[in-house]
């Protein structure tokens, strides 16, 4: 069976920042007020260039969303695997029945792709419109875009639009150098802005757990287990260890406590 990695290949030079993709996503996925599953970033030339006018005044718009990374830091932050990389299609998913909305994954995403749903109180993010895909449709943002800047598909399927564009073009990814999660969102040619993803942050409880609590508990359990083993060993090896046999002087006083 063909390996699947769903991804987006985007020609951001086509983006006109009309926000159709963000609104389409909101409607399709009932994204609550104040939150977004996707976005358009923008890069503007500096004030001097704008003052001069002329040829050197190009700006750039960059559509984006959850990048369904190869090495997702969000998954690393989740205690229960409620968010996970789906082996079947490579997308990063949230199991809404397992997620308790602790929000540990939210700061762990360099792209700010996740949010805690104010009503459902679990974590939500782009899932490539799984309900639409189940019906054989493309994600809402892809379909609605006026300039068709976003394409979508299985990178390993040579017939998919995304794979075709990948093969025909050089692409770049947008990543924070300290937290390169190997995003599966590829921008054709060049894109801007580049330096906006932040370093993945793990909430204090999670890093304390990994770095301190886990070894601490191992230590405590190990120590106690060791004690048990020693006592068990003594019990097995010194089967006839009784105070009467050994020390007549203490016979009356010695007791098992």
């Amino acid at each position: 069976m063909m390996k699947t990695q769903l991804a987006m290949v985007i020609d951001s030079s086509k983006c006109i920042d009309c926000k159709a993709c963000t609104v389409a996503c909101k409607v399709e996925n009932q994204v609550p007020e104040g939150h977004w599953r996707n976005w358009v970033k923008h890069a503007e030339p500096d004030a001097d260039r704008l003052a001069r006018g002329g040829k050197d005044t190009a700006g750039h718009f960059q559509p984006g969303a959850c990048m369904h990374c190869e090495e997702p830091t969000c998954v690393r932050a989740c205690p229960t695997g409620a968010t996970y990389k789906d082996e079947a299609d490579g997308s990063i998913r949230v199991d809404s029945a397992l997620c308790i909305g602790c929000g540990s994954c939210i700061p762990a995403c360099p792209y700010g792709a996740r949010y805690r749903h104010p009503e459902k109180k679990i974590v939500d993010k782009c899932d490539y419109c799984s309900a639409r895909r189940a019906r054989g449709e493309l994600p809402a943002c892809v379909v609605t875009c006026p300039t068709k800047a976003r394409t979508f598909g299985n990178l390993h399927d040579p017939k998919s639009e995304a794979a075709i564009l990948m093969a025909a073009n050089s692409t770049v990814r947008v990543a924070n150098p300290e937290s390169d999660t190997r995003p599966n969102m590829y921008y054709i040619g060049a894109t801007a802005p580049l330096n906006w993803p932040v370093k993945a942050q793990f909430p204090a409880p999670i890093s304390i757990w990994a770095k301190l609590a886990k070894p601490l508990i191992w230590g405590a359990v190990g120590l106690n287990a060791l004690g048990v083993l020693v006592m068990l060993g003594k019990q097995v090896l010194m089967a006839d260890d009784a105070p009467e046999a050994e020390d007549p002087e203490n016979q009356k006083e010695a007791t098992h406590g």
Binding site: T80, A97, C102, R116, P205, W209, I217, A254, H256, G257
Partner: protein, 247 residues
């Protein structure tokens, strides 16, 4: 000295003990199974996967854990409220009464005795100038008290953090408290579990503990056992019903 049986545990406390044990086992098994994160999982991802395949997915596992957790906490809450005067207050008084010198000596002498044996205890006691005998104990010995207090407090912490995690998707707006609850829940369970290993050994495997183990079913212990292991309690009881103590 006759070997009549003394009543040590009531049916209610027996039930609650095994109720606690059963819930704890299930909760521990499912709880550890819920951790599916290589950085956090103490015994390896294979275990989380195993539990998920047994329960049919992480969501079912969580549900099972929560149901049992609620039953466990509710059970103790009801027991604690209904039996506050009859059971809770006496119990807490017993486990929380420490006598520093007696308890410290118990730890030393018992500890040596359990690990190195009576002979070694005698030797070391002689060497360091203390009596090579285990100090007399009350209803619960030092070790039992040192496990019971953290168990009780730990149990409360585990229940409270558990409830916070359960309320996360309904009433909690800032999830930071949930994140801390998960950590505290894990650490507390882990520490109590560490003590639990000793408890299980001492209560059911250690030599001479057979009567104690049986009493967790029958509710009674032989008099000589009681006199040897819990002399202070034995004296109290026999004094109270002075005629019983006749041989």
């Amino acid at each position: 000295m006759g070997n009549r049986m003394m009543r040590r545990h009531t049916p209610a406390t027996i039930f609650m003990h095994w109720f606690n044990a059963a819930c704890w086992i299930f909760l521990l098994a499912t709880g550890i199974g819920l951790i599916k994160n290589d950085d956090l999982q103490p015994i390896g991802g294979w275990y989380a996967d195993l539990m998920r395949s047994i329960f049919g997915g992480g969501a079912n596992l969580l549900l099972a854990h929560e149901i049992c957790g609620v039953i466990w906490a509710a059970g103790f809450l009801i027991f604690g409220l209904v039996g506050i005067r009859k059971y809770v207050i006496p119990f807490v008084r017993e486990i929380a009464t420490f006598s520093p010198s007696r308890d410290l000596m118990w730890l030393v002498t018992k500890g040596i005795q359990m690990t190195l044996g009576h002979k070694a205890l005698a030797t070391i006691a002689r060497r360091f100038g203390f009596a090579a005998r285990i100090p007399d104990q009350g209803f619960y010995n030092t070790g039992q008290k040192l496990f019971a207090v953290p168990s009780l407090l730990g149990g409360v912490v585990i229940a409270v953090t558990g409830v916070i995690m359960m309320l996360s998707t309904s009433v909690i707006t800032d999830p930071t408290i949930v994140q801390w609850s998960i950590l505290i829940h894990f650490v507390t369970v882990g520490l109590v579990f560490a003590g639990l290993l000793i408890h299980i050994y001492m209560a059911s495997i250690a030599a001479g503990e057979r009567p104690a183990f049986i009493s967790m079913f029958t509710g009674t212990v032989p008099e000589d056992y009681a006199e040897h292991h819990h002399k202070l309690w034995y004296d109290e009881v026999t004094a109270a019903s002075g005629k019983e103590a006749s041989g």
